[in-house]
């Protein structure tokens, strides 16, 4: 019942280095996720988008931009699936496409505050832009 792009799903698996079939749907990732409430597709659901080769839908979701890469899900996953790496791979696929940047340089001045550390900007640039 594949209804999507095989290559993109394969790409996600490859660059994330994860095997979504290992998932047993226990939900420990979603239970651990600090950004859960902000996510439209929940951490435990990431795998099924890859299995069903529907990376397009994953690429459109809000979860990509609220995942903190805090690795709580990766650390606690009993099946070694690493949902955090899957969502990051999907984010990579988006930002690598033309016009896929989530953060534009023009936005920066209004977002920046006095004490904001460089680290924050550097990290955000890495995560939200090509």
């Amino acid at each position: 019942m594949s209804h999507g792009n095989k290559n993109q799903a394969a790409k996600v698996k490859e660059i994330s280095g994860t095997n979504p079939l290992k998932c047993m749907k226990c939900g420990k990732c979603s239970a651990s996720c600090p950004a859960f409430d902000k996510m439209d597709i929940k951490p435990h659901q990431f795998v099924s988008y890859v299995v069903n080769e529907d990376v397009e839908a994953l690429a459109k979701c809000e979860s990509l931009w609220v995942c903190l890469s805090c690795f709580a899900c990766v650390e606690r996953c009993p099946r070694d699936v690493k949902p955090g790496k899957i969502v990051d791979a999907a984010r990579q696929i988006v930002v690598r496409e033309k016009g896929g940047n989530y953060l534009s340089a023009n936005e920066i001045p209004e977002l920046v505050e006095e004490d904001l550390p460089q680290q924050l900007l550097v990290s955000a640039f890495r995560k939200f832009r090509r």
């Binding site: 690795f71 004490d115 904001l116 680290q119």
Partner: protein, 282 residues
Amino acid sequence: MEKYGLKSKFIRKGYRCMKYSYYPGCTLRTKAKKLDDYMRASAKVLGIELEEIENWQCCGGVYPLSSDEIATKLSSVRALNEAKEKGQDLVTLCSACHHVIKRVNDDMQNVEDIRTRANNYLKFDEPYNGETKVLHFLEILRDEIGFDKLKEKVVNPLTGKKIGAYYGCLLLRPSEILAFDNPENPTIIEEFIRALGAEAVIYPYRNECCGGYISLKAKDLSENMCNNIVNSADGFGAEMLVTACPLCQYNVTKNSEKDLPVIYFTEILAEALGVKEEVDAQ
């Protein structure tokens, strides 16, 4: 400690001339300069000699997770290789730099594809294969100096202070690679706090994320998380929090309602060792 990969053979306690390569990172040059200054002053007292890596480049702040990302890992490899050429361990202070460099080093040790491609790109005299040992400054205090010895060096014990450690996520996870401390129940900063004579307040949110870079675009999310952290710490009686990460320091300070001071761990170190005023006067 053994469980987290910290084999006792690496733990060489006692005083000796300790010379390391040091990678400060971008934020420590600007907004978090104090984190660096306090550390340098304290290191001097403790007999730790740090040689700053020449021409270090920013680590990128986050570790590039995708296995096909090479370019974004090269700055770390350069720093690692420089330490290798000097025959020194590489010390970091900022949690993010530590996280990124340690993970890139792990890739250089264990991921053949990344190793080959990075080396092809960088063309060092001799390929870099992850030989350098990456240490956080806290690891030096614990494993090389030893908290018991640190205690002996304290001149202004912080007696009576109730301090909570805030680890955040970068230092601890993924534990498999960082091998820094127990990721769910860490103790290194608590032991550090106790060595300085203060009381360590243990609260369950100390290894929860502060929101990191997300605070740029989704401030409310970070606020929610930071409030959890601060409320829990406050509830367990902490009078202040210490951290090793400039971003954590920023988020937890800015994005929480309670007015709980969040300072760098090196500040209380400098204070206990009696060199804080000297730094502040600079």
